[in-house]
């Protein structure tokens, strides 16, 4: 089992979600987050007071998938989230030791 965390542009979220559902990813958790990588922020001006907004709104998706689906899921996210501009985000993949479904205490891939 692997955990895939993807930070993407909010505007690409629907496309990414659709692409993941298409290849059979069963569930995911999403968070509205703020952050920045190499992308610069912008300035806002209210009655002459300038504020630099360098933490920009992003969507973070988290999902744990069986090993066989990892590469397909990464490709689906890449394809749907890429605009080619700075600020498209990142994907992190890490190993997961155990998964447990709370309802019936199933364990391992069966719990995903």
């Amino acid at each position: 089992m692997k955990k895939i965390e993807a930070i993407i542009q909010p505007s690409r979220f629907e496309a990414v979600k659709g692409a993941l559902q298409e290849i059979g990813v069963q569930g995911m958790t999403i968070l509205e987050v703020r952050g920045h990588g190499r992308q610069k922020g912008h300035t806002e001006v209210y009655r002459g007071s300038e504020y630099t907004v360098d933490l920009l709104p992003k969507i973070k998706l988290e999902m744990v998938v069986p090993d066989r689906l990892v590469e397909a899921a990464v490709q689906a996210i890449l394809k749907a989230a890429k605009t080619g501009k700075i600020g498209d985000g990142k994907i992190f993949v890490s190993s997961i030791e155990e998964a447990i479904r709370i309802r019936n205490e199933e364990r391992g891939e069966a719990a995903l």
Binding site: E44, V45, Y46, R47, G48, S49, Y51
Partner: protein, 468 residues
Amino acid sequence: MRRLWMVLLLALSLGSLGAVAARSAVVPGLAVRSATASVAGQLAQLERQVNQARNRGDNAWMLTSAALVLLMTGPGLALFYGGLVRKKNVLATLMQSFSLMAIITVLWALLTFSLAFGQGTAFLGGFEYLFLHGVGGAANPAYAGSIPFETYMVFQLMFAIITPALICGAFAERMKFSAMVVFMVLWSVVVYAPMAHMVWGEGGLLNAAQGGVFPTLDFAGGTVVHITSGVSALVTALYLGRRLGYPEEPMPPHNVVLSFIGACLLWVGWFGFNAGSALAASPLATSAFVATQFGAAAAAIGWAGAEWMRNGRPSLLGAVSGAVAGLVAITPASGFVGPMSALVIGLVAGIVCYLMVTKVKARLGYDDSLDAFGVHGVGGTVGALLTGVFAARAVNPIFNQQPVGLIDGHPAQVLDQMVGVAIAWALAIVGTFIILKIVDGIIGVRVPPEHEVQGLDITQHGEEAYNL
């Protein structure tokens, strides 16, 4: 419908003619004299009815105007200010405006109406209207001959409410609620009542309509409302000091949409403020209404245009702030100037207030949180001075058909305006400073730093605006 009325009227007049004829027929010798007397009587009665209808029209407009002016404070000004603060202080900001709607009303009934509009001296009214004694349905010709004195009283009350509410913009996000209540009560007595009396009260020093010593033209409250509140705002901002973290920490408005709604309500309510100040549903009211609209429009363009040139983008907050600045500036002038002068006054006010709020404030470093001084103090001063320039007897022959303003051929009016402006500034500075000293000594004006960090909503009122 109209035809039905015509038929009814015709039937009525035929009926009364018939009655006259019948009476003449009974005593033929007296026919002519009695007919004349009866026609004269009928004419007198008709005249009374026409006057009564006109007075009722005036009263309807004045009651509507009074309601419109109340709408300016709540929700107008409350939302305008509420959107500009951080979300931990929005309820406290709304509460400041709303509490004044209640407190000033009670105070007005008990004391301040009499202090402002009783006869008294040239500087302060007397005590004859304490507890609204003698303020009833009859008109008071010293103020407005065609409406009940009670209507005049309640119309003026709405001005007495919004004026202190304007000051709240300067000390937003850091003043104790208890201190604000005491401050505002004292301020209404010490600053507002004397200024209103001097400019509008019977026998007032600056009263232009009643031959004051220095006749200051102030149609709807440039000196009485906007200079007193704006300058007092500056004094409170300086006295309380900056908010914690200002200007390093970002403090952007938490909801510009609320400010937008508030500003639009202010604009609408201002028709009651300015056109209502004609004190009748007269052509002068229309003139003031038109000047109000044009002043606001030109100032919105002035402020947003200046932003567009300097920042490359015009902002919504800038546009609505400009409109408010224009409304402030046109207030003293509204019943004295024509539409073209209103455009000029509005444009000047929009640009001057923009520079004041964005450039001068940053350079001087004081923290007038929501720009009560930059918009009302500066806009009010610009408007009061320009009223002396643009006032025209063609619009309002207030000086018995003699020239009124500078362009009209009466340059000395600008000096009289300066006297009025100077008195308003001086009274606001001295009065506000003394009151702040007193309140600070008794209860302290500023919340403790930890309360300021936590926000006034929780620490002053025990509630939060957004429980989502």
